[in-house]
């Protein structure tokens, strides 16, 4: 899962249809990629109203700049790149840090993102509860780490495509993936006492 996904004929055909102003083409493009857009932006901003607004902004920008898509990468990756830059600018405007420095605080979640004290660490290890706690731990990760994990696990994008979307080196993406997953594992195994 390292190499970038190549563009398909469908990608190029859809982009051409939108550029030619064919009826229904842009709507089809939005329908195809609105889930991807939501997953990226929601993971970054964690606010449904802001996410909706930023998804709109993303697709308006896609429509405006589609002539710049040269068909060298998959359309999914190109649209993901636009969504990521829209989400990132939103976080920067609000002065929300997008990532923890790699290597910082490896032993647990950064204090600013720590799971709330209301979590009962002695709770029974029922499956549902562990899943809930795991989701809380994922939500507690910094925006960049959450987004990288979502793109890799949920959208099944190769590391090269994630690097293109985020503008980071492939090694950095791999490092974020490794450390975030290890952090989640440690949170489950030590913090909540989940047996491996």
């Amino acid at each position: 899962m390292i190499d970038a996904a190549p563009p398909t004929d469908d990608d190029r055909a859809l982009a051409q249809a939108v550029l030619a102003g064919r009826p229904g083409a842009f709507e089809r493009l939005v329908r195809t990629y609105q889930g991807l857009c939501w997953h990226i932006i929601e993971r970054m901003v964690r606010h449904p109203d802001d996410t909706r607004e930023l998804c709109q902004e993303t697709f308006l920008r896609v429509h405006q700049c589609l002539h710049q898509y040269r068909g060298e990468s998959a359309l999914k990756s190109w649209i993901g790149q636009v969504a990521y830059s829209v989400g990132k600018r939103h976080l920067e405007r609000r002065r929300i840090p997008i990532a923890d420095a790699i290597g910082a605080d490896e032993d647990g979640l950064a204090p600013a993102y720590a799971v709330s004290d209301g979590v009962d660490l002695q709770a029974e290890h029922a499956d549902d509860e562990i899943t809930l706690l795991l989701h809380a731990a994922i939500d507690a990760l910094p925006p960049l780490q959450r987004t990288v994990l979502t793109l890799y696990h949920l959208e099944e994008l190769p590391i090269a495509d994630i690097a293109r979307i985020t503008g980071l080196a492939e090694g950095t993406i791999k490092s974020h993936l490794f450390r975030s997953r290890r952090q989640l594992r440690e949170t489950l195994e030590t913090g909540y006492g989940v047996a491996a």
Partner: protein, 141 residues
């Protein structure tokens, strides 16, 4: 293979197992936790976009195109009306203007007026040279 590389392999194996729905015993102590993590990460957050999101956006990007066409047509019509009106006014009053202008030319030739006219032309020239550079720099930003 060092410890981190081995753990990376366990993470990737758990991801593959989870995708393929494979349940198997692993020698690694963390494999089960990583499978659980992979499963949680595969759960999509609910997409809370309105059902007509795509159609609404398509309407929005299509709408300005129609408005712009109408606007351009109206601007063209307005320019044509002004042109025709200007022509009629020039045809009616042109003779008088020509006479007044001819009388004004010798005035221009003398000292103070000529200096002011040259100063205004100089200002306009400087402004027109500076404008493209400013436009380029603001486009780059």
């Amino acid at each position: 293979m060092n410890h981190d590389e081995r753990e990376w392999q366990v993470q990737e194996e758990a991801l593959r197992d989870q995708r393929l729905g494979r349940e198997r015993l692993s020698e690694d102590a963390h494999a089960a936790t990583y499978r659980r993590i992979a499963q949680a990460l595969r759960t999509p957050p609910p997409v809370a976009l309105p059902a007509d999101f795509a159609a609404d956006l398509a309407r929005r990007v299509a709408a300005p195109r129609v408005d712009m066409r109408l606007e351009q047509w109206l601007v063209g019509a307005l320019v044509a009306v002004f042109g025709i009106a200007g022509g009629i006014v020039a045809w009616i009053y042109g003779g008088d203007w020509l006479g007044t202008s001819a009388a004004f030319v010798p005035e221009l030739a003398n000292g103070t007026t000529l200096k002011w006219v040259l100063a205004v032309i100089g200002c306009l020239a400087v402004a027109s040279i500076g404008r493209p550079a400013h436009r380029d720099s603001s486009r780059r930003q």
